[in-house]
Structure formats: structure tokens, C-alpha cells
Symmetry: C2
Subunit: 268 residues, 2 copies
């Protein structure tokens, strides 16, 4: 099995889903086990999910440098030609509450560079629905090709925003929130960025400066392959950042350049 193959990522995600589904909404799921590499508290559900990835890699003799939220960077096997970066449970609060919007995010890169991801998959762990992309080969939702929406203006846009746990970002985002047609906030950044890829949302904005490479690596490729425009609030892209370093990002993802430009102009 080839880790750089989206079908392999799908099998890993299916495994995560089987491991965590019985824990959704349970008291047990939120047992605190410590603090992970990603800086957040490690809950039982996070640990179970990440362990299911490591077990799958070992059982299938798949070599890679694995970067996970809980255990950090691990060399698995001998042939270390790929990096696999994962947030095994993106939307842990939703998962422990029983709110049906939780994802697994898996991205593979031949180099230690956030901008060099070649294969990506984000699975909704509640429904099993899957977004995927291969570099230069387009993006898919449920095996069908996807493209971002044609919405050009904020006044017509369904805008995903996350301002949780970041009081300052409420002021920053307020002008956008007031201009957009509808606001959504689902609590799983990777899945919400993929919602831009499929045209469910027209844009997604997170100005909190908290997203890590493991949260966004997969979704960035998916939205770019679906012809979306995604940058940091500085206008910079995501090339040149190490997958193995816990940098923190803000993200502005939009269906197209016109909408992306309006978001920038409103934020200034």
C-alpha cells in the first residue's frame, strides 16, 4: 500500500471512524490524558483516533514520517520518503458533545513543507462523507469532481467563520459578518475549508491565528485543487512552512479571486 495514494488515506480514515464512532457524545470520550504535541489537551477520543492511525501504518508496513496532534513527529518503518500529517479528530468539542460535525484530516507530502502536499483527504467522521485531492489532478467529494461556487460578492455569500475562544477576532471579523448573506460556524476548520471547495460555503475565514499545519494541510490542497483562493491575512500563501513545526495560522479561503479580494478589502 502506498501512503501517497488517496485510497490508502481513505482506509486510514475509515479506521479512525470505526475507532471513534462508539465514543461520540460519551462521558468517556472527554477523559483528559495529558497535553499533546499540538498544544491542546489530549482527550481519550483524540488518543484512540491517533493510535488507530499508527496501528494501521504498522500493520500494513507503511513507512513514513508521521506528524500527529498528540504524539508529535514519529518515524514509522524504514523508507522515510513521505510525511503524513494528521489531525485524527478535528472538532473534538463537537465529538465529545455528540454534535454531528467532526472530521479526520490526512495529508501527505514528499518534503517537510506545508506547501508541498500531494495527496489529501478529509472525512466527515459522522457521515463518512469524504473530500479528497491529488496535486494537479483536481478535488473530489464522494468520488465526484468538485469546484468552488461562482458567488462573487459577500452580500450573496454563505461565510464560515470561527471566532471561538478569541475575543479579539470578533472585532476583526465583525465587518465581514455584517456584510455576508449567511454566517455558519461548525467547529471543524478542515471540514469547513472543504465546504468552500465543494461550494457548500462560498468562503471560510478564521482570523484567530490558531490553526496549525495539521489542521489545514489537507484542506488547503483540496480547496486549491477545487479552484479556490486561499491565503493568510497578509496575502501570503503557505509555502515554506515546516510540517513538523507547530506554527499558527489565520486562513482566508474563498471560492474565487473576486470574493477573496472583497474579503480583504472589508478587513482593511
Amino acid at each position: 500500500m502506498d501512503i501517497n495514494d488517496v485510497n490508502c488515506l481513505k482506509e486510514i480514515a475509515d479506521n479512525i471512524r470505526s475507532a471513534v464512532k462508539p465514543l461520540f457524545g460519551t462521558f468517556e470520550s472527554k477523559k483528559v490524558l495529558g497535553r499533546g504535541f499540538g498544544g491542546d489537551r489530549t482527550l481519550l477520543i483524540d488518543e484512540v483516533a491517533e493510535n488507530s492511525i499508527i496501528r494501521f501504518l504498522k500493520e500494513n508496513s507503511i513507512s513514513c514520517i508521521f506528524i500527529g496532534e498528540e504524539h508529535g513527529v514519529q518515524k514509522i518503518g524504514e523508507k522515510l520518503t513521505f510525511y503524513l500529517i494528521a489531525d485524527a479528530v478535528d472538532g473534538t468539542t463537537n465529538a465529545t458533545r455528540g454534535i454531528s460535525f467532526v472530521s479526520a484530516s490526512l495529508a501527505v507530502s514528499p518534503t517537510n513543507d506545508l506547501g508541498n502536499v500531494e495527496a489529501a483527504l478529509v472525512m466527515n467522521l459522522c457521515s463518512g462523507e469524504t473530500f479528497e485531492a491529488r496535486k494537479d489532478a483536481g478535488a473530489k467529494f464522494q468520488d465526484k469532481e468538485i469546484k468552488t461556487s461562482e458567488t462573487l460578492y459577500l452580500k450573496d455569500a454563505v461565510l464560515g467563520v470561527d471566532v471561538s475562544r478569541a475575543p479579539n477576532s470578533v472585532e476583526l471579523a465583525a465587518p465581514l459578518i455584517k456584510k455576508a448573506r449567511c454566517i455558519r460556524s461548525f467547529g471543524s476548520a478542515s471540514l469547513e475549508i472543504c465546504h468552500v471547495a465543494s461550494g457548500f460555503f462560498d468562503a471560510y475565514v478564521d482570523l484567530r491565528g490558531v490553526l496549525r499545519p495539521l489542521d489545514i494541510a489537507a484542506a488547503l490542497l483540496i480547496v486549491k485543487e477545487a479552484e479556490g483562493t486561499v491565503t493568510q491575512p497578509t496575502g501570503a500563501g503557505f509555502n515554506g512552512y515546516l510540517l513538523t513545526e507547530m506554527n499558527r495560522f489565520s486562513v482566508i479561503a474563498a471560492a474565487n479571486k473576486t470574493l477573496h479580494r472583497e474579503i480583504f478589502s472589508v478587513l482593511r
Copy 2:
């Protein structure tokens, strides 16, 4: 079949679900057919859903005064001892986009009073999951009894908020948004109020003054029967408002009196 029986409401909701599922995320679903009784544009998906209710009532010889978003008040059959108030598709924007958070809201009352609802059901039309309640007999999610969460403070609370299409409500809600632990905004008020009933959310606040009896009639009973506290921002309840009149409400629903009190104090 008795319209005042939750099982009958379940059959109606199953029918709506069968009728609208093929339309989710389709171009056809958002064809504009006119403007409905509820004041919003009537889209094809709304019309199909409401027609499925009326057809079910007629086919099963169920008499009631039916209040729907699109066609308004209709007398169906001869024995007009109950009011059935319905939002057949709550979350139309989500439905037309293909976003998996859409509900049907059904409430039955023996009198024309929003405060007198005796049977209520809210179904997630994507998953089929169902919230229900009977007056003085508790609330259920998926046939299991539910109670609101024990979260007492905003700092620990998952707070549902909707500020879409209402710039003023962003300023109103901002102090709450800053204090809460997490913000969610899913775009279907009836289903989000039910999320308070089941403890998925700790509170739901909509200060836009746009919710109509048909949006909230079912969810109000469900959250009250789950021991939640729900009022308007004035502190007033919902008794004495006619089901057949399109009044517009703001809603503050909280898991318990303590959290409800903190929300009030932050808003003042």
C-alpha cells in the same frame, strides 16, 4: 391516526424527508416559486416539503387547522380540534447548498396559542435523527429521554448564535460571543434549540427578532420538557401569541436558570 400523537408527527416528518432528500444541494431545489405566508421567498424545496404534509393529512383523513410557511392557514378535514404548525424545511439555505443541517419542525396545539403546544417533533432531514416531546411527559432524542446540560457558566458553554442577515445583532451578541467557550452557528433555529435540549449545546441565542411561531413552536416545547429555560430577551415567555399570526421573536434558550441569568446579565 391522531395528529396529537408524536408517532403521527414522525410519519409526517418521514414523508417530508423522502420528498426533499433528492433535492438537497441541487440547482432545481432553489427555483423561486413566489413569496410564502411566512414572508420568505418560496423555493421549490419548501413547496415540495409542505405539499407532502398536506397530501399526508388528506390521504390519512386527518383533520386539523394547518399553518404552513408557504400556504398559510388551511382547514383540512371536518373535525378541527387541533392546530398543526409546521416549518417543513427549516434551514432552506443549507438544503439548497447541500449542507447537512436541515430540519422539519412540527407542533400540535389544541388552541391557537404558541404557549399551548402539546406535541412536538423536530427531525434532522439529513440524518433522520429526531427530537420529540409531549407536554408534561419529557423530551426525547432518538427515543431516549434527554435533559439539558449541567453547564452553569458561559466560559464553559457551547453557545449557538445566529446573526445572519442582521448587522445590528452582531453588536448585540458580541459580548456573549466573547465570553462563551465555543460558538456554533448551524443555520436551522429549530434544530439548534433542540441541541440545547439534548445538551449538545448549552445555550442558543437569536437576537434578530425574526423567528416566527412556525420556526420555534416545536423546539420551545422540546427544550422546556428537557428542563431548559427559554424566554424572549424581555424575560417574557411565549404564552398568548397566536399560532396563526406571523409575529417575530428573539429567543434565549439555556440549559438552566443559572446560565440563562448570566446570558441576561451579559446582554444588559
